[in-house]
């Protein structure tokens, strides 16, 4: 089995982000997608705390403590970027103005339901942030996650066991094994990495996978 590492997974998503796109990258692995977008494309990154045109990390002596991304890392602003408040930022997200959002996930169902904000452990205090707004609002929602849990359990399921972030919202899933589209007919494998076979990937997936077209 060919398993992509985190960098390779992020690079694979980056290939599908077109020139001129407005994109929101979720906290964690999704944020690293920006490092892999090729230099011949201009991608405008949105950060939920109120930035359009997020640039790379600043030099240590150039840090502005207010200028952070959603993951609370210091960032910069591209020439052409701008700032706005929470209401306008989430209007962009919820109002369908972002072309692509890339989020991590605990689980995705075959209908594209997304679970990425809470487990069923009620002693652990919940936190939701902006995930639900992105889930309902982006024109295309990509999930970037490992195909299985650390324990080897499937994360692509007939239905999510964890609380939903949004119902029927995921458009495409990028894992370390394959790229899978959520379609009307079901989960359609779009790409298998290396010599991975449909049977290999299906064995690690609870939901039924349809073969590449």
């Amino acid at each position: 089995m060919m398993r992509l590492n985190s960098d390779e997974m992020a690079r694979r998503v980056a290939q599908d982000i077109p020139d001129g796109a407005y994109v929101n990258l979720g906290i964690g692995m999704p944020t690293s997608v920006a490092n892999h977008v090729s230099d011949d494309r201009l991608v405008i990154y949105h950060s939920e705390n109120g930035i359009l045109g997020v640039g790379p990390a600043p030099a240590p002596d150039q840090v502005d403590p207010d200028l952070i991304n959603a993951g609370k890392q210091y960032v910069t602003l591209l020439q052409g970027g701008c700032y706005f408040d929470n209401a306008e930022s989430f209007a962009m997200m919820r109002g369908g103005h972002l072309d692509i959002a890339v989020l991590g996930a605990f689980q995705v169902s075959e209908r594209g339901d997304l679970a990425n904000w809470a487990t069923n452990d009620d002693t652990f205090p919940p936190a939701v942030g902006g995930a639900m707004d992105l889930a309902v609002g982006a024109k295309q929602l990509f999930v970037l996650m490992r195909h299985t849990t650390k324990a080897g359990e499937p994360k692509i399921l007939n239905q999510c066991h964890y609380p939903l972030t949004g119902a029927g919202v995921v458009k495409r899933i990028y894992t370390d094994l394959a790229v899978i589209d959520v379609t009307e007919e079901g989960l359609r494998v779009r790409e298998l990495y290396g010599d991975n076979t449909l049977a290999d990937v299906q064995a690690l997936t609870e939901a039924r996978l349809l073969p590449p077209l």
Binding site: F84, A87, A91, R94
Partner: protein
């Protein structure tokens, strides 16, 4: 890295794909912040059966009144169609040749904003207990009455700003903002008429009023036109 450039070569090209039957928002409050050159381009383009969403209905024979005179408008959604000199609106209205949806001004703004922000609607106290709430859902929240007003989206927004950069970021001139920034958010295609276009980074990011994500096309006013604002 390539350069994003939303500049459109001409007013004519900017409006060329507006289809018959479109819902078109037009910014402005009276003649303040109104995209007169885009309206004139739309008149020349000739799309018909339009629904116009705007605060006013135009006066004399300029601006929205010119579209009314040309018979291009089926319906108008606005708060104050009857101004001094709004002869074309009054003529069509009295003849029953135009449909009017009258909306209180703040409700018009919230419905436009709701469309841009992905909301289904808002409960507003405005109009509660009046004729303009008839037939609408109402709700009493904490003892106060509210009317449900639904989102009002458009196919196209024609707006007027002072200056754009090539990313479509916009700044305005004084009270010329009015409906322009919210309409920019609420249409499938937003087209901005501006005095000039500058490079990315030339507008102060702290002072940009409309972020470029809401703007599809930017077009510079043509100085030679008689209808220059």
């Amino acid at each position: 890295m390539i350069v994003m450039n939303k500049t459109c070569e001409s007013l004519r090209a900017a409006v060329a794909d507006i289809a018959d039957g479109s819902v078109v928002m037009i910014g402005g409050f009276g003649n303040s912040g109104i995209p007169l050159q885009l309206i004139e381009a739309l008149r020349q383009h000739g799309a018909r059966d339009l629904t116009i969403i705007s605060n006013n209905a135009g006066v004399a024979e300029i601006g929205i009144a010119s579209l009314l005179k040309a018979g291009q408008v089926r319906k108008i959604v606005c708060s104050f169609p009857r101004s001094s000199g709004s002869i074309w609106f009054e003529r069509l209205y009295e003849a029953g040749d135009i449909e009017l949806e009258l909306v209180p001004q703040g409700t018009l703004g919230e419905r436009i904003r709701a469309a841009g922000a992905g909301l289904g609607g808002v409960y507003t106290p405005t109009g509660y207990g009046t004729r303009l709430a008839e037939g609408k859902e109402t709700k009493v929240i904490n003892g106060k009455g509210f009317v449900l007003e639904t989102a009002l989206p458009a196919d196209v927004a024609l707006i007027k700003a002072h200056r754009a950069d090539v990313w479509g970021n916009l700044i305005y001139n004084t009270a010329g903002r009015n409906f322009n920034p919210i309409m920019a958010t609420a249409a499938t295609t937003t087209i901005a008429e501006v005095s000039d276009v500058v490079s990315a980074g030339e507008l102060d990011p702290e002072c940009i009023v409309t972020p470029g994500i809401f703007v599809d096309r930017v077009v510079t006013q043509e100085a030679s036109r008689h209808d220059a604002a």
